[in-house]
Amino acid sequence: MAWLAFLLEALAGSILLALVLLTCVDVFGRYFFGNAVDGATEMTEIALAIIVFAEIPVITWRGTHVVIDVLDGVFGRWVKGLETLSAVLISAMLYLLGDTVMGQAARALRRNVTTEYLHLPVGDIIQYIGIMCWLTAACTLSWGIYRIFMRREQHS
């Protein structure tokens, strides 16, 4: 799991740096040479999707999502059981969501939907998002199980 997280972070990180480079080259080219990068907007959008969905499973696995912890300590151990239950519920939702996303990807591929300028297949990127939804579902489940055995952390 740790090496997978490392790989995903490395992917997100390199795409992020590429995105910086892309914007700079695009603006420079347009302003000084009257020649912008074709499809820069599209590439930005795809890069964004790659970055976000490479990291979502990672932060889910590490449990670093935004949580509200005002009432921590007010409730007893039984809450932990409910937490696990909700982890199961969320992971089911994410699994079904991934399923729906994959359905949309298959549809986009079947109908040859492409991007506007570069004509890249839209279905491929949707498929990537779907797979990452499934991976996040697995991470949620593992986080829920982990919570049963671990003491509640103080603050995140």
């Binding site: 009257g34 040859n112 506007e116």
Partner: protein, 321 residues
Amino acid sequence: ATEMRVATWLPPTHPQNTDVLPTWGKWIEEATEGRVTLKLEYNMGHPKDMFALVEDGVVDASWTFHGYVPGRFRLTQIVEQPGLGADAEAASVAYWRVYEKYFTKANEHDGLELMGLFTHAPGQIQTANPISSLADLRGMKIRLGGGIQGELGGRMEVTPVNAPASKVYEMMQQGVIDGTFLPVCEQKTLRLSEVAPNLTLLPGGMYLGSFAIFANPDFLDSLDPKDKEAIMKVSGEKLSQMAGQVWDQCGVDALKASREAGVNVVEVGQNDPMAKQFQTLSEGMDKVWIQSVSDLDVDAEKALQELRDTARNYKPNVAAN
């Protein structure tokens, strides 16, 4: 009464949301004796998501621009080809008839019930600085939508900048772009008269943009058959014509307002050099399109000819509403 939920986009003040859809809703309500009413839902997502939202039954109907989903819709580009020389109403009626007759079998709108097809008024050149020839556009930073505009921009050798239409105002004002190709209507709806005070109107415009209005088939089947039939009767050509009319009117109003606001409107005559330049420049684009759909089992050439004949000979009858 059954509520027909129609997802929409563009601001609530746009004629599509103040005229086209409400008029359609009034027709539906009358035709079904009040058993079906129409409700607009905003903020449901990006315009390109509308096809999926309707197909998956999140909403019952919607409308959107075909160009947002390239690849899937290729035959719909028939109406966008330069040189049609008709206004939106004529083009929309001809478009609906020809599409029904020639292209329905290609099933591009798979999973959807097509309720209407229409175009916006012709796209024109809107720039920060005046132009006296198409050659002036060479090297200018022009915001282009996809599809046919991209091809035109390429032939004019502009520096293409891609961005959604809603960002054009911002980019014009900052000087990130020098101009854009959009219908005159957007002088008003996007407040472009403030930032693009030079409007060059080519006769018949440069290109048209293809839109569809569509519904979820399961929703229609869930209605009483006679209500479904009543709805279909106030849709199709009737709806397409009305939509085209409204979008034309938007352009007329916008042009008047722009003139009053001091926009420099240059109307290029049929025999002016710039019109000739454009003809030469856009020559053969229709052939390219026909070639691009040659893998589909449709007679694109004949359809295009019929579209042009119908649109050019179209006589507007009494307003549908």
